[in-house]
């Protein structure tokens, strides 16, 4: 079994509550989960990079109405744990991350299906709570919330433990891969960044706002040619974005 598997399982179990049921402080987002699991496994950089890649590629996944997006907590958490294990075993980090995320995707889909099943079961809890409210058993009515949270925590815990085990088994396959395939996973990592940028563009850019994207690329290119450090470029983009937000906010409502 993986190193620190118990700590990772407990962490993912607790964070699974944040995803929908309790708080929604975004502690369950890939960027936070990746960093936390990375810290636990002793590979914070791998955690940050996996978290950033998952956050970027799935940036357009929005929970609207009854649509359940992929379980990004399991995706980022399991992928980080597996990638850290592979890197520790001597695998190239880029290839390890690509392999780990690819392994975690079906596990995340299964976790989402399980979440859907639980939500169907919650109908019974809601009916039970209604009966308790109608008959004046207010303590039991309140207790339903705690019981459901406990159920969700257990679901998160079991899903994380099972996923870690499956990922660990899949990780053994990595060392059997021919060098050419590992090279392919290495190339794919760079291509995945393109996929991530596309996801952000698909979500954010409209026809009338596309000139801002071109303007931003040209400005960043100019800055790159003049060897301006990355952090200054991000700061410049943030400042410009802040000014644009202020300009728009000042215009008030039009719709």
């Amino acid at each position: 079994m993986m190193e620190h598997w118990l700590a990772i399982t407990l962490l993912l179990g607790f964070l699974s509550l944040d995803a929908t049921a309790a708080g929604q402080f975004m502690l369950s987002r890939p960027i936070a989960v990746g960093a936390l699991v990375g810290l636990l496994t002793g590979h914070p950089e791998v955690g940050l990079l996996v978290g950033a890649l998952v956050e970027l590629i799935w940036i357009g996944e929005v929970p609207v109405g009854s649509h359940l997006p992929a379980d990004l907590l399991i995706l980022a958490g399991i992928a980080t744990a597996l990638a850290a294990e592979l890197v520790r075993g001597g695998a190239p980090p880029e290839a390890a991350m690509t392999f780990a995320i690819g392994t975690a995707i079906p596990l995340a889909i299964l976790s989402t299906e399980l979440e859907g099943l639980l939500r169907r079961l919650h109908v019974r809890w809601a009916h039970f709570a209604q009966r308790m409210a109608g008959s004046g058993h207010f303590g039991t009515f309140d207790g339903v919330n705690t019981l459901v949270l406990l159920g969700l925590f257990l679901k998160g815990l079991l899903t994380a433990a099972a996923s870690l085990f499956i990922a660990h088994l899949a990780g053994r396959l990595f060392h059997l891969l021919p060098d050419r395939v590992v090279d392919g996973l290495y190339y794919a990592h760079w291509l995945l960044l393109a996929l991530g940028c596309s996801a952000a563009i698909d979500l954010m850019v409209e026809k009338k706002t596309s000139p801002f994207l071109v303007l931003s690329i040209v400005t960043a290119l100019t800055a790159a040619f003049f060897q301006i450090p990355g952090v200054w470029m991000v700061s410049g983009a943030l400042l410009a974005g802040f000014i644009l937000t202020l300009i728009y906010a000042g215009k008030g409502e039009t719709a």
Binding site: A21, F25, A52, G65, D142, A188, C197, M233
Partner: protein
């Protein structure tokens, strides 16, 4: 009507009641179900206030059951409705009995009328704008290696959480307070908060970050050869265009992931391919 009923002082909600309701609003989605969505959550949030407002057991049971009807909206924006309903429930208790039924209908109408529009606004504001913006900020910082390798890398997720939760808790708090202060008039007040303007501004700010990101992930080549950098950037941009088209055609990111890995494998078996940029991961060992 008995004289005692005339003289009875209608119960008011205390600060502690409101605080309890506000804290419970963080669990609004716990019993999210496919039949009536947030119905239990809504009643669960109001329960401490209903306990205060309806001292008679049967009346309290009736009020709680009344709030178990279908309800679904954005979890953060729901605070506007929760606050307003608390005020209206409080007002209801000051009315003579014959008018209380009418107030109940008004409360239901407010819930039904508000949940759709604020859900649309909340989804667009938080899920499609603020969260992606905070995510892009963190991603750009990670990929620019602004804080990595080194011990200060934890700043990035902390920054992501801090920026997002300022907006999150701000809207929750504002919604709850304004809802309670304005009651059913909160519908009219919603427009003045400038959520639509914030969405437009933040989307533009996000686009600027995406532009910087596209340049960042190819910058490693710049130190070696400018021509190669331009070539890689052009290839990268073409891929971005292709993938954007695919995503626009509703192909899921998970499916595209495997397609991209397949392209990577094809490239690996292409004998004359040059090495892709590696600068992003130089610090990872």
């Amino acid at each position: 009507m008995t004289p005692t009923a005339e003289e009875k002082v209608p119960p008011r909600l205390s600060f502690l009641d409101l605080l309890q309701c506000f804290l419970r609003s963080f669990f609004l989605q716990a019993v999210w179900n496919v039949e009536r969505y947030l119905n239990y959550g809504f009643a669960f949030v109001l329960a401490p206030a209903l306990k205060r407002l309806y001292p008679v057991r049967e009346e309290r049971a009736q009020a709680l059951t009344r709030h178990l009807e279908y309800f679904n909206t954005h979890p953060y924006m729901a605070s506007f409705v929760l606050g307003a309903v608390l005020r209206m429930e409080e007002e209801k208790q000051t009315l003579p009995r014959p008018k209380q039924k009418q107030k109940e209908d008004e409360i239901n109408a407010l819930k039904v009328g508000m949940m759709g529009p604020i859900a649309a606004m909340g989804d667009n504001l938080f899920w499609a704008t603020v969260r992606p913006y905070c995510g892009l900020l963190a991603i750009t910082l990670v990929l620019s290696q602004a804080f990595t390798p080194g011990s200060r890398a934890w700043i990035i997720p902390v920054l992501f959480l801090a920026v997002f939760n300022v907006a999150h808790l701000g809207v929750r708090g504002l919604g709850f307070l304004q809802g309670y202060r304005q009651g059913d008039q909160v519908v009219l007040a919603l427009r003045k908060y400038g959520f639509q303007a914030a969405i437009r501004g933040l989307k533009l700010a996000s686009i600027l970050l995406v532009g910087v990101l596209i340049v960042f992930v190819n910058m490693g080549e710049l130190d070696r050869e400018v021509g190669l950098f331009i070539l890689k950037l052009s290839f990268f941009s073409a891929l971005v265009g292709l993938f954007t088209f695919a995503l626009h055609r509703k192909i899921a990111p998970g499916q595209l992931y495997y397609a991209v890995v397949l392209i990577g494998l094809i490239l690996a078996y292409w004998p004359e391919l040059s090495t892709p940029p590696t600068h992003l991961l130089e610090g990872v060992k």
